[in-house]
Assembly symmetry: C2
Homo-oligomer: 341 residues x 2
Amino acid sequence: MLGDRELLILQTIIDDFITTAKPIGSRALSKKEDINLSAATIRNVMADLEEMELLVKTHSSSGRVPSEKGYRYYVDHVISPSLKEKELHLMEDIIQGNMLEMEQLVQLSAEVLSELTNYTAVILGPNEMNATLKQIQIVRLSAQSAVAILVTNTGHVEHRLFNLPFGIEVTELEKMVNILNDRLIGIPIMDLQYRLQSEVYTLMQQHLKHHELIYDHIFSVLQYENTGKLYVGGQSNMMRQPEFNDIDKIYQFYTMLENEEEMIKLLKTDHDGLKITIGNENKVDAIKQFSLITTSYKMDGNQLGTIALLGPTRMEYRKVITLLQALSTEMTDVLFRGKWK
Amino acid sequence: MLGDRELLILQTIIDDFITTAKPIGSRALSKKEDINLSAATIRNVMADLEEMELLVKTHSSSGRVPSEKGYRYYVDHVISPSLKEKELHLMEDIIQGNMLEMEQLVQLSAEVLSELTNYTAVILGPNEMNATLKQIQIVRLSAQSAVAILVTNTGHVEHRLFNLPFGIEVTELEKMVNILNDRLIGIPIMDLQYRLQSEVYTLMQQHLKHHELIYDHIFSVLQYENTGKLYVGGQSNMMRQPEFNDIDKIYQFYTMLENEEEMIKLLKTDHDGLKITIGNENKVDAIKQFSLITTSYKMDGNQLGTIALLGPTRMEYRKVITLLQALSTEMTDVLFRGKWK
DNA sequence: TATTAGCACTCGTTAGAGAAGAGTGCTAAC
DNA sequence: GTTAGCACTCTTCTCTAACGAGTGCTAATA
């Protein structure tokens, strides 16, 4: 554990570095308002902090810079979650303002969040696999094509185009839709396939002339993997960070973001509450130069998706934590208030 | 009009610059295979071309670089549309391969196009305002909420969540849906609102108890402006271009892309066929450093959307033109074959 | 004993000078 | 009409020197 003075110095260095992104030396530090120590004294403290690996030098005679361990200490011991402010209310207003679809809500949240922080917001959209089927419909477009529409209890609408087998009749399609609705409504999306294979298949065999023609199609329609879509806001914010003034780094960053699969894997977590990973604490190579802060939003205790902020390790942790927690409860709240229930 | 020799020199310089992005001098030029002229002669020709403003120097003793006027001349007079190649077949295969929804088709096309060219592909998705209504449905989610679903003849599905007025009954909702379907099917999306206001309104008045409660809701649901969504592929390709090795330029580029409204306006065109705008020929400031090549895809002669490629003025025009034309016909073809008809 | 002042030393940054190299325009010869 | 030659220009690279911010250590001070 650190002493008061060491804590003060560490905090001041980190706070300064968070805003300036430049190493700070003992002399500059001694001039700060709430530090009444001589440069020499500060140098001693800094040397101690460096020995504890909370600070590092960029070269032998440079000022100090926080290490990842330093940030970790800062996050764990120094930060007191700051109180709500006008930014929070702004966010509230925007999110609660409209009757939004889930998708819009999530996209909007990503944008607001990135705007307020100047970092990059990444939100993993709701996993609809836990939602239940509300209705299934098939709309015929032409002799050979139709679109199948699935509505979940959360108001999510999924649709898929498919080819109709030759010679299928309208009445037969209707019959099938009836069977499906009769048997599948209320079933969680993730179980649809299984249910279809088991009981519905035999039913279709009994009642439909061309069941073998249509079954495969309807099966593939229900075979949808919606484990959450990715919403990104403020990608270009990262370029305004001085540590990413290098084309190669920016390029890496963007190609990482474009790799949706990897990102989804990264964000999928069953961890509850706020989680901060700093630099190399991240297991994925691509973000070892970033800090990632994640939290989740829920409905009925079910984890729906993840909200994350991606920024340099030199991040405004205090602000970010506050905002993220607020957004999480905000979203959970909007969902709870039952608009989609 | 240029003489043969001048044309050869101009073409060679541009071709070289397109691949290297570096100014080329007379000596290097004289060593090229199909040029059997001494450096001194070439210098004279280059001086002439510079006087015609087809070439410029970056400084008084540098090699030459094509000017925008030079590219324009090159595009207008030098390029012969090259024949189809394996790349074209690759594209064909990918696009014709699957039964895709319009949206997927467009997104995929943007990705393939950017992959093949290493530029940034921007596609303006189909304008669904011309499509006609195939079916309208309302699925009730809870006592106070429902989702309205519109299906167009193109297989496009639009849905919107809305609050139900208090005390509305199931039978009444059903009645309304029947009226809507009865009166609006086959109507172009862009006319829906008008039709609703005129004949449908009176019908609802006659048959529905709470028509004044529900009318506003259904009106706002039909009030949807789908003039095309933007699909972008290969954004990060631009960073691999040596002329954009500058953070500020990249930042500008990305903020431009993020401004969806502006981009849509830029791409919306009634111009038929291929159109090339080079550098300052563009009217929008944000892309005065780029070249923009656009073409469109159609269905039944109706322009649906725009396909565009964004790259440096130093662009592989020949290749790009070929690919873009091919994709345009490809998409028009897929659409014509009537999967969505 | 804890703090501070002083000083020698380190290392990154910046500016300038010079050399190398690529390219040009012009002139004169072929 | 074409080419060789040459003086000249401008960029790029490298090297050096000066500067300054910051450090660690030692000795003086409260």
